[in-house]
């Protein structure tokens, strides 16, 4: 697979992953760019990568957390969700605030499960955790979101 093909296939999900972690568009772009630069050098060196998707998610996640650690004290101001399906901007703000209230590791599992529609097994592979850990993080996140947003 060429770099262009890899970008076209995975970049959108990687960007969302980085955005959910950093909650800032520019930082998400930096994280994605850094991951693809790493991939490009691996491809040039003809290094074997068994499964590209987890490789890229791990790279993006690492870079996003590094960026996050660097600016831990400065507040995030980006909106990460936008309304569709008849939802209002006020509701989007509430969802945004609720997602922001979750720890990063729960937030990313919510993204990967709800928005990217991945199974807990696959989430485990992408994040280097067991499927049970992924499911448990999701369960905690769901409880917290229910608390904050209401719902069943």
């Amino acid at each position: 697979m060429t770099l262009e093909e890899a970008y076209d296939r995975y970049a959108a999900a990687l960007y969302r992953h980085a955005l959910v972690l950093t909650r800032r568009g520019a930082d998400a772009e930096d994280a994605v760019q850094s991951a693809f630069v790493k991939l490009a050098s691996r491809l040039r060196a003809k290094a074997e990568i068994d499964d590209l998707e987890p490789y890229l998610h791990v790279a993006v996640r690492g870079e996003a957390l590094r960026i996050l650690g660097r600016r831990r004290r400065s507040p995030s101001e980006a909106r990460i969700v936008a309304p569709v399906n008849g939802a209002s901007f006020e509701e989007a703000e509430a969802v945004d605030a609720a997602l922001a209230a979750l720890p990063e590791e729960q937030r990313e599992v919510v993204l990967l499960h709800v928005y990217e529609e991945l199974t807990f097994r696959r989430i485990g592979e992408l994040l280097g955790i067991s499927p049970d850990t992924a499911a448990s993080r999701y369960r905690y996140a769901k409880e917290k979101l229910k608390e904050l947003l209401g719902g069943d």
Binding site: Y7, R16, A28, V37, V84, L111
Partner: protein, 105 residues
């Protein structure tokens, strides 16, 4: 409403188009031959410059007749040559030499 259904009423942002361009541009392999080609062109230019300067210096030092050489070349090529009196050629050469001395400083 289930929390998942509620969350799906919102979408997450997509990467901007400029990110693709930036990623593909930055990830381009570094090609040393680009630099080598540019260096070769620069080297050629400076060699040609040095050669023409040396030729001019030789002509000035010998008090030579560049106009004569030029007129001979032009006649060979079938051009019409307007002859310039030697005194004017000498004056031009002297002013050129002065100009080059000023530049050399």
């Amino acid at each position: 409403m289930e929390i998942e259904d509620h969350l799906r009423r919102f979408r997450l942002a997509s990467p901007p188009a400029r990110l693709r361009r930036a990623v593909l541009a930055e990830a381009k392999p570094w090609r040393p031959w680009h630099l080598a080609a540019a260096a070769a062109v620069l080297l050629l230019c400076s060699a040609m410059n040095a050669l023409s300067e040396a030729r001019l210096h030789r002509l000035l030092a010998s008090g030579g007749e560049p106009a004569l050489e030029a007129s001979q070349a032009s006649q060979t090529a079938g051009h019409i040559v307007v002859s310039v009196p030697p005194s004017i050629r000498a004056e031009s050469l002297i002013s050129l030499r002065r100009a080059m001395e000023v530049d050399g400083r």
